[in-house]
């Protein structure tokens, strides 16, 4: 079961040509710079634009080929538009009910839950023009979700929200995907959101897909811009093993060794994704003890790249997992880093993603 799609369109100054195959389960992130064709892709998938010669299949169902074109309203996709696109002639409540009332009986989600989650209960009787930008965006998210789509397309849904709100909403989006099995295609230019949410990643530029694969792979592929940037990061998988209630630390076992994470108690036995920003990883030759850094992994240098730049990226392997460390070239020289060399990677921060 997967989603395959193939589209081509020539807008003159912009040529769009993609051929994608993504898993039907999970969240697929679409990441790329402004004007690279993210919205164009979503619109083609939703059937809002009809590109001749296009092809799209969801699981066993063909939405578009040379002879078929399933109209948008029959595709049961949810779509969160980049500009919230609420119905200006309806109150917030009527906007929410619009999709809800068109859902086949029995599939409806609870309106109250979503309204509470997005903190829009005070806005129910307002008209959209009286809402702030972020409020409109939240209503749009609620409206799309309440339509119980089979596939949810989100075009920068959190762009106008503050970090705290994002942190409230993101776990819910994950839950939609996990618990309801609602596949999501998530467009964003915010790496943070993408790495938090995406299982699968489509990297776009100039109307083309430049990379597609699991998030951990795409993030650490040294031939791609992601691993080269100052914000490069690695994703590792781990299982929650123990909890130190005195210091409120969760102890996890990962492919790279033990990881200690401060914070709320994580459910024991749970599989989680951890994010390690490359710039938070430092390398040492000896195992330091008198430091506030808790997570230190023994690893082997795989590759040092970045040429003559003042900062270099070091890809190290701990077990079978790639970790990126961004350090100054001076340090790299001081430590005389070479492929195959044994070192210790100390990570100042580790974020739990799933």
């Amino acid at each position: 079961m997967s989603i395959s799609a193939r589209f081509h369109i020539d807008h003159g100054r912009f040529t769009f040509g993609v051929d994608i195959a993504i898993p039907e389960k999970g969240i697929t992130g679409v990441f790329g710079p402004s004007g690279c064709g993210k919205t164009t892709l979503l619109r083609a998938i939703a059937g809002l634009d009809h590109f001749p010669q296009g092809y799209i299949r969801i699981g066993g169902e063909v939405w578009q080929d040379t002879t078929t074109f399933v109209p948008t309203y029959k595709r049961m996709v949810g779509y969160i538009f980049q500009e919230s696109n609420l119905f200006t002639h309806m109150t917030v409540k009527k906007n929410l009910k619009y999709g809800l009332s068109r859902v086949p009986k029995g599939r409806e989600l609870s309106m109250d839950t979503i309204v509470d989650l997005l903190d829009i209960s005070a806005l129910m009787d307002q008209y959209p023009r009286n809402l702030s930008g972020g409020e409109q965006q939240r209503v749009a998210i609620a409206r799309a979700i309440l339509a119980s789509p089979r596939l949810l397309l989100m075009d920068e849904p959190l762009a106008s929200l503050d970090l705290d709100r994002k942190r409230e909403i993101i776990p819910y989006i994950e839950a939609l995907n996990h618990d309801l099995g609602m596949p999501i295609i998530y467009v964003s230019h915010d790496r943070d959101e993408i790495t938090r949410l995406a299982d699968h990643l489509l990297l776009m530029d100039h109307g083309k897909i430049i990379s597609s694969g699991s998030i951990a792979d795409v993030l650490t592929r040294v031939d791609l811009p992601l691993a080269k940037s100052a914000d490069a990061e690695s994703i590792i998988r781990a299982k929650v093993r123990d909890y130190d209630s005195k210091y409120q630390l969760s102890i996890l076992e990962s492919s790279v060794g033990q990881v200690v994470i401060p914070g709320e108690k994580l459910e024991l036995g749970r599989d989680v994704r951890l994010r390690i920003p490359a710039r938070d990883v430092s390398l040492t030759l000896v195992h330091q003890t008198d430091t506030s850094i808790l997570n230190i992994f023994s690893a082997t240098v795989d590759q040092v790249f970045g040429g003559d730049a003042p900062q270099v990226m070091v890809k190290v392997r701990a077990g079978d997992t790639a970790i990126l460390a961004r350090i100054t070239r001076k340090s790299a020289d001081n430590l005389k880093l070479k492929p195959g060399m044994k070192i210790f990677a100390q990570t100042k921060s580790v974020a739990v993603l799933t």
Partner: protein, 226 residues
Amino acid sequence: MIFTEADLVALFVTVKLAFISTLVLLLCGTPLAWWLSRSKWRFRFLIEAIVALPLVLPPTVLGFYLLLGLSPSGPIGSLSSSLGLGSLAFTFQGLVVGSVLYSMPFVVQPLQDGFRNVGISRLEAAAVLGASPIDRFFSVAVPVARPAFVTASVLGFAHTLGEFGVVLMIGGNIPGETQVVSIAIYDHVEMLHYSKAHLLSGLLLLLSFLTLTLVYRHRGFKVVAS
């Protein structure tokens, strides 16, 4: 009593005619306007021009041509006869046909403008929420274009109220059937019954004024902010 019975009958016929015509105008004009506002057909403008065309003929002359068309030997007349409807000339139904034809541009054009302003993005939002084209039309396009419906109805209704030339020609000024209040007022003026004409005009103006103020006061104004 200050109004003759014939006046009141004429008033009743007029209001009935205006209501039915406006209804028919909206029923025919709405899909046409919708199509015109969405169509990408190259020669759409020809249809637009044809809709506006009846307007340029003097009403009596238009009425004359309608009369020719509606007469048993005319194209519409022979059609309606073969359908067993008989001739429409000098009947109330005939008046409705005439009024509708003549007021069509006043309904189609404002609606077309209104629909065009609905904007594609709202309709797309409705489509992804599972609304079929018909559903979108009624749940999004119609409410958003509500002021245009008000304009179209007011112009269509008022124009039918005052319509005279076409109605006189194809209606034959038959009291109780095709004599409308505009003709009644005209007759009063012709017969030099000025005070009766003033009274009846006054009544018509008053009723229209009341209706119009009611309509305008309650027209949806808030929804249009874009």
